[in-house]
């Protein structure tokens, strides 16, 4: 990334007719395969430059251009059609120039399916101390060499253009979802202005899709304003941002459902940072198509395996003599070969133990979404949700109230 002075540009005109005239047919098509007659859920085929993605889809996060010890072939074999790379990390190391020389992030990590990159802004605000947001962009001190760096909308897109991702995210002004007051509106308005700058900066619109990010905190009015403004832009897809940051779940789902109510039917909707199984199922019902979260791969490193009844802590003593697989019904390579007891023992000797759990967890997430999709296509998504909740929670009393309310809002009553 360049130094502060290098990349400040005057924000281009926000005149909409100008923008529309420049718009190129996007390298993305969304074919709606089925819509749930009861909820807002839908199953789509999302055609991206590297392959078709079946939605609803969970996208595993490979921060540094690698998926936590899993080879690209293993990830592909699990059926992963799209995964994430982080612009902030990759922009720092090895840097956009090197990745461009390697034929983009696809070439660098030898990944043949689709990639989505974030804008780098969120990471910067959350990882780097002393970052500062101005109209120009996000200024921060590099943790590697201490230099002051400005990440402007133009710079973020330039890096993402170098990475060559199939879906790029606009730089947005991120505020914590628990912040209230004028800062929320400022961030929302700025995110709209930055979206226009990102659209203008995309040097590769015929190969790389730029998604807008709906902001507005937990304020329905601001969300609505943002939705109205952003949906006027001709972008290939929309993300729902600024959630999943510690807000009340009651606020969370209301903002999600408000967003999907106003997003265009023919474009994909990506709910950022969501990956817990219950959240995924509920938010599919609310009309979201795409999800990402570091949780399934991060938690694997600590021996936490995801199962239909919650999670299983492989390192806990109780599994030392448990000779069953993690999930007897799971058909992932880990469950087909190894027992809880062996994985428990292996955690004491080698990192491959983590890889086994990572593979299982990614398989769990992808299988969950495949089952969701299948039930939508077969017109039995409401039944799927009920069975899923019964399996996940020991009793009706333990169903989280927000999930019950959210599902009720889309006509699903849980017995």
């Amino acid at each position: 990334m360049a130094a502060t002075s290098a990349c400040v540009e005057t924000p281009p005109s926000t005149d909409m007719s100008f923008k529309k005239a420049l718009a190129v047919a996007s390298p993305l098509t969304l074919h709606i395969v089925a819509e749930c007659p009861v909820t807002k859920a839908r199953a789509c085929d999302l055609k991206l430059p590297h392959c078709v993605v079946s939605t609803p889809v969970f996208m595993p996060v490979g921060t540094q251009g690698t998926m936590k010890g899993i080879t690209a072939d293993q990830l592909d074999a699990l059926g992963c059609q799209i995964c994430l790379g982080n612009t902030y990390h990759l922009g720092m190391r090895p840097g956009p120039d090197l990745i461009e020389k390697a034929n983009g992030l696809h070439g660098f990590m030898n990944w043949k399916n689709n990639l989505l990159t974030d804008s780098g802004g969120f990471q910067m605000v959350s990882l780097v101390e002393l970052s500062e947001v101005t109209e120009e962009g996000v200024t921060f001190k590099s943790p590697y060499d201490g230099k002051t760096i400005l990440l402007s909308p133009e710079k973020s897109i330039a890096i993402q253009n170098s990475l060559g991702s199939d879906i790029m995210m606009q730089l947005d002004d991120v505020v914590s979802s628990t912040v209230t007051g004028p800062r929320v509106e400022e961030a929302m308005q700025r995110s709209i202005r930055w979206l226009d700058r990102c659209i203008a900066a995309n040097s590769n619109p015929h190969k790389q899709n730029l998604f807008a990010i709906i902001q507005g905190g937990l304020n329905a009015g601001l969300r609505k304003t943002c939705l109205d403004e952003m949906t006027k832009r001709d972008v290939p897809g929309f993300a729902i941002g600024g959630l999943s940051g510690g807000e009340e779940k009651d606020d969370f789902w209301r903002m999600v459902t408000l967003s999907t109510d106003h997003l265009p039917r023919e474009k994909p909707r990506y709910l950022m940072g969501v990956g817990y199984a219950v959240d995924l199922v509920v938010c599919v019902a609310l009309g979201c198509d795409m999800f990402d979260c570091v949780f399934p791969t991060r938690t694997a490193r600590f021996g936490s395996a995801l199962v239909p009844w919650g999670s299983l802590q492989v390192k806990h003593k109780q599994y030392a003599k448990d000779f069953k697989p993690i999930d007897p019904d799971c058909r992932c390579p880990t469950c087909k070969r190894h027992s809880r007891a062996y994985l428990h023992a292996l955690f004491k000797s080698d990192t491959a133990a983590m890889h086994h759990i990572t593979i299982h967890n990614i398989a769990y997430q992808l299988n969950l979404m495949r089952s969701v999709r299948q039930s939508i296509v077969q017109g039995r998504f409401p039944d799927f949700i009920r069975a899923f909740m019964r399996r996940m929670f020991p009793s009706r009393e333990q169903y989280p109230s927000w999930a019950v309310d959210a599902l009720a809002s889309v006509n699903i009553t849980l017995e």
Binding site: Q64, G65, T66, M67, K68, G69, I70, T71, A72, D73, Q74, A77, H89, R93, P94, L98, K101, A102, F108, M109, N110, A320, K321, F323, P333, T334, R337, H338, S339, A341, Y342, A345, L346, K348, S349, D350, T351, A352, A353, M354, H355, H356, I359
Partner: protein
Amino acid sequence: MAVGWMKLEFSRVLQGGSRLGVLKGLGRTGQHSLEVPGCLLYSRCGTVPHLTQDTLHNLDKLPSVTQVSLDHLAEHQEVLEEFKEGFKKFSGLHDTVLFCTLNDPATPSPTGYTTNKTVSVWGSGGRIELTAAKFMALQKLLQPDCYVSMADGETWQDNTSRKRVRKSVERTLAHLDECLLVHQASQELEGAALFGVVEGGDVPEERSRSARETAKRPVAGFCLDGLQSGRLNGALRSQLIAAVIKELPEDKPRLLQGVGRPDEVLACVEAGVDLFEGFFPFLVTERGCALCFRFDTAIDPESGDGTPPSESTAEPNGDHHPDDPTRMTSFEMDLKDKRYRDDFRPLVEGCGCYCCQNHKRAYVHHLLATNELLAGVLLTLHNTAHYLAFFAALREALAADKVDFLKRRVLGQTETST
């Protein structure tokens, strides 16, 4: 005599002592074989470090024998007692010969804990003391296809007295007798091959005595202990191995413990060693390096082969520290080095491993720089493939009378790179 089906068949025995052949009839049912000279597949707790079975099987021509060590297994005794079906089934290893040794060759154990009746292993929970009875109880639970008898190998330190060396030989023979008694009466170990351990420190007479006495026992093979890298110079090691081998029968395999450097492997094969522990690639991986030494023998390196050094597929950049097995050797390249940051070549040109077929040096460098777990996975795949290919080249060279070419190729690099 519980020696199982194991049978060593030679296709060639060279004058110096090198033996080329196949160790046949491995495994409880005798269906596996292993070419010699060769190495075992190194594992920790039944897993090749960093690899799942899927990634491991990206490698072809894997050795049919997997090594495990009690360092990693002893602490799981209770679990295996409950499991009852042996370690292979416990660890999901279906189609391999399980070879159990006492210590992990890649992790030196602390010394000073050996007694007349016990040896110690170090697991994740600390030291576990083993008597011969406990040692054999463990073996019955593990149900390996081959295992190495309990031994007092604590003679490699400097200034070990002759008296201490003698004691180690005595103790090891006593342990062997105790192990054999249990072995022969054990149903669980029926068909398993027990290897006797030759000790004797750096005292040739004790080495000979240990070998002679061990050879009198009904063992399936021999394990040469206390000669590991970094503890004695190559000339002395070769001399000691020669003293041992003079006392050993021709028809039983000889495994050398703790030696893995390619130059040392070559010397020890010439001295008559058949088998090595395959831990060297693991050490290389752990320091972020890739094996890149050459072992092609198609053309004699001295007669000029038209490959100028500048076109060499890899540039080893290690210094020579034969005394310290944890230090980088001249057989490898340090991928953490900045020079590989924008190097878009495979680790080794022409290498058929998964890493070299799919990734570039720049990517592996990036994974190392960012401490990503995939670095260990990819390096293990390459280093294991390279090391196994070296053994294959060694066998070919033995068959085609080209060992001298091979030596010049492998060692030549050592001389020119410093």
